[in-house]
Symmetry: C2
Subunit: 362 residues, 2 copies
């Protein structure tokens, strides 16, 4: 009953996407479990090396024969300011000392090669390619299309959705301000676009003719039916899957997801240099008083990596990036399959109840 | 078909509230037109003197015999910093010179007497009393109840909604971050709560047993059905009614509402000292570079009043407070009755379509 044009295109049973949460949560087990349950699992592959990417795709394929997606970050060319980098290195040393790791580390590699990642996806002929932070070059989109891959972009404004449609994507994720993790905003004049899902989805739907996937603050069957009502062809849920047993999120991160309230998050640039929504930590609070310039993504992301890794090792959530959306009170630790089933069952009950109201009134 | 527990309590036909937009938009004509169309018109009376309040209620009653609401601001006691006030006065003088009005005006009265406003509402035995910015004293709530007035508070977090329920309100408006105008946030530790409607409504619904009214980014029948699905008993729409012929918004303000996009707004304290969402103006942009402290509400509100009034006279939108939500592309200039009817008609079509999908699948 929740079949849409998009579910038919993707050959999936339910219009439920598990969000591609890069950096650990989207294990092969999570992606496969969601796809096996009738949704679309999505691998957040932005930080994976080409070799890791290929082997992870193979692992997912051993766990499911259903379609799944792979999400990449469209690269950006930040302007490197040596002064900002030096000042940040010096500042971050206090955390390194606290965590017992080496100070003044050499600047690590900023990011993986997008071209090499794309090459792996082309060779692997994946079902769905999604991306965020921009629009890939035309030849990448063309090559994906030739292999029969469905292409999905990410927009945070109507203007971005229109640009993606012109670029030839098959569908667009409308990322509302409630969403956890990195903001997909890529047009400079939309830089602070934080449009709530209930406002963003119908406005994008009115201005593009491709299917729209609602994301941001959606956690259950209520969010599913509400989103379909707003005109979406599917929903994408991230936070809802973060505390699953299949999720690769750190145990202390899962515990935070299960105990935090709806007002626990803020949008911050302190972990990666790019705006992202996460649960407030000591690191975020400290950085409110940082007087220097935060290096742009992906520089800051690379610069804080050793600290986040050391914090994970010592089970210290205060220096971890705890990406999360605003639906936190609705998170639970059921299996991925149970979350998909609960969402569909609740949605079915809601639609039935609405039907009943209509019938009673004749 | 959109009857709810709340519509029965309020004796209204449709679960559609017109938001109480203080400062001009909610004319007696607008309030009465919405109530006559089957919704609940609401007078934004926060800035009215007791005399104005009484005469406006009488005017509305001449135009409708249907229930309507009156909204007040729960008072706050700001700490007056003479230094901040002096610095702001000096800064604002540049605009006064530009607009050709007197510089260094005497500090005006900060706000109307809440006690006197309440007294008028009690004497007038109004149908619905709503409020924002806090919780009125217990005796006010008690006195309203004794007169059969339905009491509605405003919450921006689950915690605030729970406090309001304990205080004895009959229903609560869940104000999502998309909403235009002042944020209703009143708990200090929720001070930056900007939770999107699609996330806020179900979380509040899960934690209170009184009816919840969804507000923020809702502009049409899609928003109505989505909100009911999320568990709301009604919706409140402000921006959707701002450009109505019955709205008292300034002509240049209406023109901005009809031409602006979803990303045109930001939340700012520069006009009133309290966070509020409005369309970006030269005044907002200028104030990003103001180095002093912005006096708290209602001081700053009183201090900018002469500038806003002069800007209105000279049709200059750049110094007006153009409160608006994030659903801007969906605004139209139809009559209030037409907006209520369109919303209900569209909602009906949406529910029918869902019913049809169910039937087709047997």
């Amino acid at each position: 009953m929740f079949e849409t044009k998009l579910t038919r295109l993707l050959k999936i049973r339910y219009p439920i996407f598990q969000a591609p949460m890069a950096g650990g949560p989207t294990t092969p087990e999570l992606v496969a479990a969601v796809s096996n349950a009738g949704g679309l699992g999505n691998l957040g592959a932005g930080y994976l090396t080409p070799e890791q990417l290929r082997s992870t795709i193979h692992m997912i394929r051993q766990l499911t024969d259903q379609p799944f997606g792979v999400n990449l970050f469209v690269p950006e060319q930040p302007i490197e300011s040596e002064e900002a980098i030096d000042q940040m290195t010096a500042y971050l040393n206090q955390y390194r000392i606290e965590l017992g790791i080496a100070t003044n580390p050499l600047l690590p590699k900023f990011s993986e090669s997008f071209e090499e990642q794309v090459q792996v996806l082309l060779e692997e002929k994946i079902s769905v390619f999604s991306f965020t932070f921009g629009i890939p070059p035309h030849d990448v989109i063309q090559a994906m299309k030739e292999r029969g891959t469905v292409i999905i972009g990410t927009a945070t404004t109507v203007e971005e959705a229109k640009c993606l449609e012109v670029a030839g994507v098959d569908a667009v994720v409308a990322q509302g301000s409630e969403a956890g993790g990195h903001r997909g905003t890529f047009l400079k004049n939309n830089s602070d676009a934080q449009i709530g899902t209930i406002a963003l989805v119908p406005q994008i739907v009115d201005h593009v003719s491709i299917p729209v996937i609602a994301s941001g603050g959606i956690m259950d069957g209520r969010g599913l039916v509400a989103s379909l009502t707003l005109g979406a062809a599917a929903i994408q849920m991230g936070t809802a899957f973060l505390a699953c047993p299949e999720s690769g999120a750190h145990a202390t991160y899962k515990q935070k997801i299960l105990s935090a309230n709806e007002d626990a998050t803020e949008i911050t640039r302190v972990y990666s240099g790019k705006a992202a929504r996460g649960i407030r930590t000591k690191f975020i609070n400290d950085m409110h008083h940082y007087s220097g310039t935060i290096p742009a993504y992906p520089i800051q992301n690379a610069m804080t990596r050793d600290i986040r890794q050391a914090a994970a090792k010592s089970n210290n959530p205060e220096y971890l990036s705890l990406w999360a959306g605003q639906g936190l009170r609705l998170a639970n630790d059921g299996s991925a399959a149970a979350i998909v089933k609960q969402t569909i069952d609740q949605a079915y009950v809601l639609v039935k109840a609405m039907e009943k109201t209509l019938q009673e009134e004749g």
